[in-house]
């Protein structure tokens, strides 16, 4: 640590966001670049803690060596920083842009001041690395001859694939969609992450030897049993794509859409595709939009609706409004319960809390009104929390477009999982043992499919862990290659 008093000298800074009026007119990323000098002083804010909580269980899931690369950045040793960053994180360009950064809410400096801007530093390390050409393919010295199939190309699948490939296993990634990237590509709007960011990483992986097969539905296009025969191990990284549904009258009306359908379509359009045959365009242009669900996906829908030119947008959340600052129930270093205002919220939105949708009404099969009631959280007779509607608080609101962003309910069970005969846990996720293996020998699972919908950074961690387990399984004690 070069400057023990850095945290006393500098205040937290993040890159400026482009002006709202400007950024809602395009699909480009909303942050402006940040000066190198600023980043160096931000790195100097890191206190090089004896116990860096940013790295702890309440901090970074991929266990980034944050104090170490903060220091490197402070000294302007970007390449060293990148090396350290890559040692724990395959895709810092994803997490640097998209991670909610539990490292920062666990940052020790957060006890007395604003935490270190860790995420921004991470993001700049990797982007600088790509710009400078430091991100080269890492080709294994020798091949093991073993073959692994990775099903799904989201962050978990990609991380597993890269790790396995680098130790010399032959890796094939199967993706049912037409492009690689899973939710990264079609779930995340471009204003949060432009998709060339994925492409340049895929280029590296291809050069390293990972084989990608798109448009293949394993279970349909390739029989589960064939898969088992062709590969020595299988890693299921199929995500948790089962959406949580809204079961109210009027759900079937036209203009009521799942968030993922909405986001995917817009992402394709930005990528230059046309709306697919048989699909109807979903657009917010000139509409009264209501987004149900107050989470990150809801926020992504919000930003998308702004850019599409919505007339008015509301966002409803069933939970009560969280406190402005860290709730007492979640003291440092825990992930804080608190009100989060995203860039999309800054762009304009009416946010309502404690609202539960009761029905949707309309005419001509098109939605026109949303009806809701205020609810309070209370403990039911069974001891579980429930939402109790408050009499006399019914409201209705004009709605041309209703987007359901209420989260996910685990992996899609039909098809591949059923065909393979993979056992599920109580929550409906793929059940695995401590080595990431499912009940089927040689079949592993990682990411959202295994842990339920979660953060990208967790997906990467899962992918890495699964890769290590798969490698151990394949080597069966005879280690000739390094562990991933």
């Amino acid at each position: 640590m070069a400057d023990p008093k850095g945290f006393l000298k500098y205040k937290r800074q993040e890159p400026k966001k482009r002006p709202v009026a400007e950024r809602v007119r395009d699909w480009k990323e909303f942050y402006e670049p940040i000066a190198e000098e600023t980043l160096k002083s931000q790195g100097a804010r890191c206190m090089d803690c004896g116990v860096p909580f940013c790295q702890s269980h309440t901090g970074c899931p991929v266990q980034n060596m944050i104090p170490d690369w903060n220091d490197m950045v402070h000294r302007g040793r970007w390449q060293d920083a990148l090396k350290m960053l890559h040692a724990t994180n395959n895709f810092p360009e994803f997490t640097g842009r998209l991670c909610p950064a539990p490292c920062e809410t666990a940052c020790v400096l957060g006890i007395i001041d604003d935490p270190v801007s860790i995420r921004v530093i991470e993001w700049n390390i990797i982007d600088r690395g790509f710009d400078a050409g430091w991100v080269a393919p890492v080709v294994p010295a020798r091949r093991t001859g073993k073959r692994v199939a990775v099903i799904g190309s989201g962050p978990a699948g990609l991380a597993a694939a890269q790790q396995l490939c680098r130790v010399g296993h032959g890796v094939t990634v199967f993706e049912q969609d037409d492009r690689i990237g899973g939710l990264l590509r079609y779930g995340i709007p471009d204003f949060k992450m432009e998709k060339h960011v994925i492409d340049r990483r895929l280029e590296q992986m291809r050069a390293e030897g990972v084989e990608f097969k798109t448009g293949v539905r394993v279970g349909t296009d390739l029989a589960a049993q064939d898969l088992r025969r062709q590969f020595d191990a299988v890693c299921l990284a199929i995500g948790a794509m089962q959406p949580r549904e809204l079961s109210v009258p009027g759900r079937e009306l036209d203009g009521v859409h799942l968030a993922m359908d909405y986001l995917t379509q817009q992402n394709r359009l930005v990528a230059g595709d046309a709306v697919r045959p048989g699909e109807r365009p979903i657009t917010a242009k000139g509409k009264h939009v209501i987004i149900i669900g107050g989470g990150d996906t809801g926020s992504d829908c919000l930003g998308t609706a702004h850019r599409q030119g919505a007339a008015q947008i509301h966002q409803f959340e069933i939970l009560p409004e969280p406190p402005k600052r860290r709730a007492e129930s979640t003291p440092w270093p825990l992930w804080p319960m608190q009100l989060r205002t995203s860039h999309a919220h800054e762009e304009g939105c009416d946010r309502q809390w404690s609202l539960s949708t009761t029905k949707l009404t309309g005419s001509n099969g098109r939605v026109e009104q949303l009806h809701a009631v205020r609810v309070e959280l209370e403990t039911g007779p069974d001891g579980r929390a429930r939402f109790a509607p408050q009499p006399g608080t019914d409201i209705q609101m004009k709605a041309d477009l209703v987007i359901l962003a209420m989260g996910f309910a685990g992996p899609v069970r039909a098809g591949l999982l059923a065909d393979l005969g993979v056992a599920l846990d109580q929550r409906g996720n793929v059940a695995v043992n401590e080595d990431h293996m499912t009940n089927i020998d040689g079949v592993f699972a990682a990411g959202d499919a295994k842990r339920g919908a979660s953060l990208i950074v967790w997906a990467i961690r899962e992918g890495r862990d699964a890769a290590r387990a798969i490698d151990q399984f394949l080597q069966a004690g005879k280690r000739t290659a390094p562990q991933p």
């Binding site: 023990p4 008093k5 945290f7 006393l8 206190m47 090089d48 803690c49 004896g50 116990v51 860096p52 909580f53 790295q55 702890s56 269980h57 309440t58 901090g59 266990q63 060596m65 104090p67 170490d68 040793r77 090396k83 350290m84 890559h86 040692a87 724990t88 666990a106 020790v108 400096l109 006890i111 007395i112 001041d113 890492v138 080709v139 294994p140 010295a141 020798r142 680098r166 003291p331 440092w332 270093p333 825990l334 280690r479 000739t480 290659a481 390094p482």
Partner: protein, 1510 residues
């Protein structure tokens, strides 16, 4: 109390081992210089002994002493008569030898022994004339001494040889043979047999006696016919209470007060030399002497053996002493060249027997005394006009009329005092050494035969480091990323080793899942209580890194070739230096490189055979005539793994010792493994002469290439700084054990191993303690291979292992204080949530998985539970809890006071730490809270230790050592010393402060007893506790401390500690409390001392389970430091040393202090949680009262770590051992110590001064005083401070005039308003902690000696004094005014190290000073009358500068003080100076600390600015 054996020590058991026994003592002699024999000398000798009784000790049985003895010349007339009574007819004087023997009490065994003795005498061609029973009076003995009393007889051997010298040598051979024969015999009571003396010159009377029992017990001594011209005496203070008659002194040639720190190495080298020794004097008798030194005896006995061997081998007694205990010559540029050459020549032959020592020695004709190089033991002498000389540990041991005294003095460091009764004169140090050092042309010999490394030709071929494969090499040797940042970088930037804070919380090496370097299994030992550590920086003049490498010569020879060795300035060789040696072609210095590698393909088991092969090759190389063996692990690659370098070097070293060929070669280690100072210390400590750390050097080059070295530092500079840092750290490591030279450290094995099994230790690290077993050779191989595998398996990205030893990293080493543990503890205590606390404690206690510490492997033997409401309430249990000693200075005011308030509320105790305490805090707050720390610490710097501070304590804690850096001093950087801290520490804001490594009033166990006595006098109501740090032998030290009358002993673990400590000390010194506590409990129970003291333990205690386990292992009280800090908000930033603590705890920055969020309630919540959890466990164990649980280690069962690849070999049976003690032996504290303060002189003074104390009306008292009147004035001052506070009484309210020789600590802590006038002289520690009073000393009016040149007061006067005045018309011993922070003193002359570490006050020296004046002096001023103009050479200019006295204020101050001196003390010299003031003034030199001057100037400037701003 069991009476073990027959006058011997108990056998090793549990964690107790007799080898750790220590002793301290009083020594002395009296001699008629002309050699006239008289019975009076014997009688006076006995009186000297009695007057040093307080320096000895008594055991658990108050009538049994630790030992006393007397050596005299053979009284021929007496023996002629006495022998005749037994039927033996003695020949003329000098024609026979007398043997004094302890024999078995059992008649049959006794007879058997006697027959053996007779046989040996016969076989050696001499004639045994007969036996005599020595008449003794058993009834005068204590119970224990009587029960173990041997049968004491004398036998007479007729001289059958021409010369007396040959006869004496023959008697020596006979005695050695008797000893060997007895030891190997089947005699059951052979341990009781001891030949006290067998000589034709001297006879020794000694035993397990108190000094005053000598005369009544040995009836011979009362016989007027027992005459002698000399008598040498000794009174022993042992750490144990075992009845061991044989351990009493004197031995045959010496008696010894001190401790040989390097004993293990000295013994090994003595043994190793056997292969190369030969002497015409002994001829074929030499083999009969082996082993020269039998190892199972005390250090003093071993030293006696060595002295005897050298003397019998033909050297004179002073010559032998100069070889064994040389004065410090390396760092002394003033030494004459011949003397220097003498020491240098002999350094090649004999390594110093290093340690504090005052030794008296005699061969019956000459008698003398000598001190170690550092002068760490007191020794005073006196010569009378009628030709008698007395030398003793104290002055005043033999009352002599003042007018009869011709000369008084003290022995100076490294000097000798010798009386030759044949020549009939005193021979002073200068003359003795002049003669001896010119006996042979040593200088010439050195020039011809000794080579200096610098003189060797530059090597032709130095291996050029490359970068390829460097990462693999580093990985194979276990380098981590963290080491670059935390270890190497600070070393090359600052030239010093790295500093850290907050202790250590990583697992012991054996418990770690990760492969560890072998070095990590070794813990550095350190001095505490029985000997002092040294300050390697401020007292550098005694330290030395110079070493001679190569074969060692015949010890008994004295030839020019004996010094044929290579001299190196320091032990770290650069690559080029190593090549120089490798390329030497001289046939005497041929070197052979042996590969220290093993084949990877052979697997872990391959290590053992490779080591054996290495040893075999070493033997072969010696046969082939090589002089240097270079053990090298260069050449590690995919197929070859390195043998751990420590294993390699120690295995070869031990192997060659066993073969008696070790002295034939020099061992050099060339290794990629060593990089930290500790690594080098291990290698040298286990036998390496020099080390070349090639990979560390290569790493530095790599760091330069990659831009990791700071601006301005290239690889070459980095290498220099690195070597400098290692050297400095090595000196510190030596010094913490009190060792001064690398030469005596080499092979001294000053380490304890933890986690290594006995096979491994016995074979390769012979003699090293390793008490809980652990892993073996195979696992060591496995560790090496794991590193090797990580290095050489193919990989795409090669990033070194992170490490995580110092700072937590998820991917690094396990830490006890993990993030999860920290935040749970904070959440629990802030919200008073017991459920969250239980989550915390579950995480902490779940160490079966984590295995962060030993207690994780212990389990409670529950059963017979009781309902929890029957268990003693938590509110009672919390009273046993303490918070740790953290100074205000180390932590903020807020953090410190919050702890105090919390502990006072619950009835526990908080601790001031060593920084003093604001007197405001002594006054309770209006709401009933109190910020007064119940425990006031007394540490080596004595910051703020005033009488007022002392009387406001419930407990006074003497800090002997600190877990995070035992054996070291501390330093508070100037930046942290703000106004408040400076005020409390009596120093200057902005000026850094130094704590000396030792207490300068505790160099031995008897000194500690003295300090305890001082403190008890100052505050009779306070418990006196002594803080020790866990290490092997701590139990034995604790036994001594118990006998020194401590009320409580704190056994501190190795892992705690805040503030700044060198990282190597945090990691590599000290042991877990579990071991230290258990050893202490076992040793105290074994000695029947446990009932007298309370035991406290600390060192990362966290949970109720920890408390219960500690109680079962023997603790009554419990200290917590880190945990309460974490409760206060500490998040283990580990930046305490940087003042940037973001949560306001370890900082004085007001902005950061404002962030402090701790509250007393949180701390209280924590302690109640811990107590509650302890109660739950007590209920499960079935204990209702906490006391019942103490010492019940039977309630613990070890859990074998079968699933752990390394820890599975651990064996806890020694830890859980319960000594078999007779029923009723206390296993916890059941009684109070007897302090013997009821009859002290102060009681009378207080009575007589009562009115003055109450009313302030002046009073003048008179009293005679003796050396047995100790600590006079402290109790009186305590009474004053209690009533009158810090200010004391108005000046001169109480005046006491004393006449005589004052005992130690005269005027200690003397309060303001008290004046002590002493006519006569005083012993050590005069004016210790002087707190405002005035002390005046002048010689007795009848004295004829010249006061200016005569020692009047002893060593270490005015230590830690904070205020007052002192005038001495006479000179002082060493360390006058050490750590003075406020006293004004005038004196005629001082010894070495005057004004050391001074931070305030004024000292005027009107005469000569010793060397190293003003070392570490950071404040105050001194004025020295520089008559001979040599003062600048004797002054340590590291921190001060010398100025003329010209400033008006200075002149006025100086003149005023000298005037007072003339008035109070009647100094003629002062009067003379005043008379010719204008000519005298320019002769004065002002000694001004540089930092102090700067701070004063700044302050003056501020003072000027303030009014104008206002």
């Amino acid at each position: 109390m069991a009476i073990p054996h027959h006058g011997a020590m108990p056998s090793p058991q549990g964690l107790y081992h007799p080898r750790h026994e220590r002793d301290g003592c009083g020594i002395g002699f009296i001699v008629n210089i002309k050699g006239e024999k008289s019975h009076g000398i014997v009688k006076n000798g006995l009186q000297i002994l009695e007057n040093m009784a307080h320096r000895g000790a008594q055991g658990c049985d108050p009538c049994t002493g630790d030992g006393a003895g007397l050596l005299i010349q053979i009284p021929h007339e007496f023996f002629r008569r006495a022998a005749a009574e037994g039927g033996a007819k003695l020949p003329g004087a000098g024609q026979y030898g007398v043997g004094m023997v302890f024999l078995p009490a059992d008649p049959a065994q006794r007879r058997h022994t006697e027959l053996m003795i007779e046989a040996v005498v016969h076989e050696e061609g001499q004639q045994l004339l007969g036996w005599r029973d020595v008449p003794v009076k058993e009834s005068s003995l204590g119970e224990l001494a009587r029960a173990s009393m041997p049968f004491i007889r004398q036998f007479f051997v007729a001289r059958n040889i021409l010369s007396e010298a040959q006869f004496e040598r023959k008697l020596y051979v006979i005695r050695k043979r008797i000893e060997h024969a007895v030891r190997e015999s089947a005699i059951e009571q052979r341990d009781a047999v001891h030949v006290c003396s067998l000589s034709c010159n001297t006879v020794v009377y000694k035993g397990l006696l108190l000094p005053n029992q000598m005369a009544p017990f040995y009836q011979d001594l009362a016989d007027e016919a027992v005459v002698s011209a000399l008598a040498m005496v000794h009174s022993r203070f042992s750490t144990n209470t075992f009845p061991a008659w044989s351990l009493a002194h004197p031995y045959r040639y010496i008696c010894h007060n001190g401790e040989i720190n390097t004993l293990k190495g000295n013994l090994n080298w003595m043994r190793a030399r056997q292969g190369r020794m030969h002497s015409e004097l002994f001829d074929r008798d030499l083999d009969k002497l082996y082993p020269i030194i039998h190892e199972q005896q005390s250090d003093s006995a071993c030293l006696d053996n060595a002295v005897e061997f050298l003397v019998m081998g033909g050297r004179s007694l002073p010559h032998a002493m100069m070889m064994l205990i040389p004065e410090a010559w390396v760092g002394n540029p003033h030494m004459d060249l011949d003397r220097r050459a003498f020491y240098e020549y002999h350094a090649a032959m004999m390594e110093p027997w290093d340690g504090p020592a005052a030794v008296c020695f005699t061969d019956g004709k000459t008698i003398g005394g000598t001190l170690d190089r550092n002068g760490l033991r007191p020794c005073r002498f006196m010569v009378t006009y009628d030709g008698v000389a007395v030398l003793a540990s104290e002055a005043g041991v033999l009352p002599v009329k003042p007018e009869d005294v011709r000369l008084k003095g003290r022995l100076q460091p490294g000097k000798m005092f010798l009386v030759d009764t044949v020549q009939g004169r005193i021979i002073d140090d200068e003359e003795i050494k002049h003669d001896i050092t010119r006996r042979k042309p040593y200088r010439q010999w050195l020039l011809t035969h000794r080579i200096s490394l610098d003189e060797l030709p530059e090597p032709l071929n130095v291996p050029q480091p490359g970068h390829a494969a460097l990462r693999q090499q580093q990985q194979a040797f276990g380098y981590t990323i963290e080491e670059f940042k935390m270890i190497l970088t600070p070393m090359v930037v600052t030239g010093e080793e790295a500093v850290g804070s907050m202790g250590t919380d990583t697992p012991l090496a054996v418990l770690s899942e990760r492969p560890q370097l072998l070095f990590k299994y070794f813990k550095q030992l350190f001095a505490q209580v029985t000997n002092p550590p040294i300050d390697p920086i401020r007292e550098q003049l005694v330290m030395s890194l110079v070493t001679n490498i190569g074969p060692k010569p015949n010890l008994l020879g004295e030839t020019p070739e004996s010094c044929r060795r290579i001299k190196v300035q320091q032990p770290i060789l650069t690559n080029a230096e190593l090549e120089k040696i490798r390329e030497i072609t001289d046939e005497h210095f041929r070197s052979k490189t042996l590969r220290m590698l093993f084949r990877v393909a052979d697997g872990a088991d391959g290590l053992g055979s490779a080591v054996d092969e290495l040893c075999r090759q070493a033997s072969q190389a010696i046969k082939d005539g090589y002089s240097f063996l270079i053990l090298s692990d260069r050449g590690v690659n995919a197929d070859w793994a390195p043998i751990p370098s420590l294993l390699g070097v120690s295995a070869v070293h031990q192997h060659l010792i066993r073969e008696c060929s070790r002295t034939e070669v020099g061992l050099i280690v060339e290794t990629g493994e060593a990089r930290e100072a500790h690594h080098f210390a291990c290698l040298i400590g286990y036998g390496a002469g020099t080390v070349n750390p090639y990979l560390a050097f290569r790493t530095l080059i790599d760091m330069e290439r990659d831009g990791y070295l700071p601006e301005g530092i290239d690889a070459a500079t980095a290498q220099q700084k690195y070597i400098k840092a290692v050297n400095k750290a090595l000196l510190k490591i030596f010094s913490k054990m009190g060792i001064s030279t690398v030469q005596s450290y080499c092979g001294a094995q000053i380490f304890e191993a933890i986690g290594l099994n006995h096979d491994l230790i016995d074979r390769y690290f012979t003699g090293t303690a390793s008490r809980i077993g652990g892993l073996g050779l195979r696992e060591l191989g496995e560790e090496t291979l794991r590193r090797h595998q990580a290095a050489y398996q193919p990989t795409a990205v090669r990033l070194l292992d992170y490490g995580g030893e110092y700072h937590y990293r998820v991917q690094g080493e396990q830490h006890n204080w993990s993030p999860d543990v920290i935040y749970r503890l904070q959440h629990a205590t802030r919200t008073k949530n017991y459920a969250t606390y239980k989550e915390f404690s579950r995480l902490v206690n779940d160490e079966s998985r984590h295995r962060a510490n030993l207690r994780g492997l212990l389990e409670l033997r529950t059963g017979a539970p009781i309902p929890i409401d029957e268990v003693e309430p938590a509110s009672e249990i919390v009273k046993r809890f303490k918070t740790g000693a953290m100074s205000f200075g180390a932590i903020s005011k807020e953090a410190h006071e919050t702890l105090a308030i919390a502990m006072n509320r619950i009835g526990g105790r908080s601790n001031t730490g060593e920084g003093g305490e604001d007197p405001e805090r002594f006054i309770p707050l209006p709401n009933g809270d109190s910020k007064n720390s119940a425990i006031k610490q007394v540490a080596s710097a004595r910051f703020g230790v005033t009488i007022h501070y002392l009387v406001n304590a419930k407990e006074l804690q003497i800090k002997m050592a600190q877990g995070s850096k035992p054996g070291e001093g501390g330093q508070l950087p100037g930046g942290k010393v703000d106004e408040t801290i400076a005020r409390l520490r009596y120093s200057t804001p902005g000026v850094g402060l130094i704590s000396p490594p030792p207490h300068h009033d505790i160099y031995s166990i008897e000194d500690l007893a003295q300090l305890i006595f001082d403190l008890k006098n100052a505050n009779p109501g306070a418990d006196i506790s002594v803080k020790l740090v866990s290490e092997v032998g701590v139990g034995t030290v604790a036994a001594g401390v118990a006998k020194a009358h401590a009320d409580k002993i704190l056994i501190s673990g190795d892992s705690g500690g805040t503030g700044a400590s060198p990282l190597s000390s945090i990691k590599f010194a000290g042991l877990p409390w579990e071991l230290g506590l258990a050893e202490t409990q076992q040793t105290l129970v074994l000695n029947n001392l446990r009932g007298r003291v309370r035991i406290e333990t600390d060192g990362q205690l966290k949970t109720g389970r920890d408390v219960v386990l500690a109680a079962l292992l023997g603790a009554e009280e419990f200290g917590f430091a880190t945990a309460p800090l974490i409760v206060e908000g500490c998040i283990m930033m580990r930046k305490c040393h940087l003042n940037t603590c973001p949560v306001g705890i370890a900082t004085h920055d007001p902005a950061l202090r404002a962030k402090f969020s701790g509250q007393p309630e949180h701390v209280i919540n924590y302690f109640f949680f811990v107590a509650e959890e302890a109660r739950e466990l007590m209920a499960q164990l079935g204990f209702r009262r906490f006391d019942d649980m103490v010492g019940r280690s039977d309630k613990i069962k070890p859990q074998r770590a079968l699933d752990h690849w390394k820890a599975k070999g651990l064996d806890f049976s020694a830890l859980l051992h319960r000594p078999a003690a007779p029923a009723g032996t206390a296993i916890r504290c059941v009684e109070r110590q007897r302090h013997d303060i009821d009859q002290v002189l102060d009681r009378r003074l207080i009575e007589q001064a009562r009115a003055a104390i109450e009313t302030g009306r002046p009073v003048r008292l008179e009293s005679p005083i003796r050396n047995t009147d100790r600590t006079v004035g402290a109790m009186l001052s305590g009474e004053i401070a209690k009533r009158r506070g810090a200010a004391g009484l108005p000046a001169d309210t109480i005046t006491v005039a004393f006449t005589g020789t004052a005992g130690q600590s005269f005027g200690a802590f003397l309060a303001g308003g008290v004046t002590f006038v002493l006519e006569g002289e005083s012993n050590d520690y005069l004016g210790k902690g002087l707190s405002g009073g005035r002390i005046v000393v002048y010689p007795h009016r009848g004295s004829k000696f010249i006061p200016e040149e005569t020692i009047l007061i002893g060593n270490t006067s005015l230590y830690g004094a904070t205020g007052g005045e002192c005038y001495v018309y006479g000179a002082a011993g060493e360390r006058f005014a050490v750590r003075n922070s406020g006293v004004k003193a005038v004196i005629e002359g001082v010894g070495d190290h005057g004004c050391e570490y001074m931070t305030g006050g004024v000292v005027v020296v009107l005469g000569r000073t010793g060397r190293n004046f003003a070392a570490g002096m950071s404040g105050g001023v001194a004025f020295v009358y520089n008559e001979d103009g040599q003062f600048p050479k004797r002054c340590n200019l590291g921190m001060v500068e010398l100025e003329p006295v010209i400033d008006d204020e200075d002149v006025a101050l100086l003149q005023d003080l000298i005037t007072r001196h003339a008035t109070y003390a009647g100094s003629r010299k002062a009067a003379a100076i005043l008379q010719q003031w204008q000519t005298a003034r320019p002769t004065f030199v002002k000694v001004m600390p540089i930092e102090y001057k700067r701070a004063l100037a700044e302050r003056a400037q501020r003072a000027r600015l303030v009014p104008s701003a206002g």
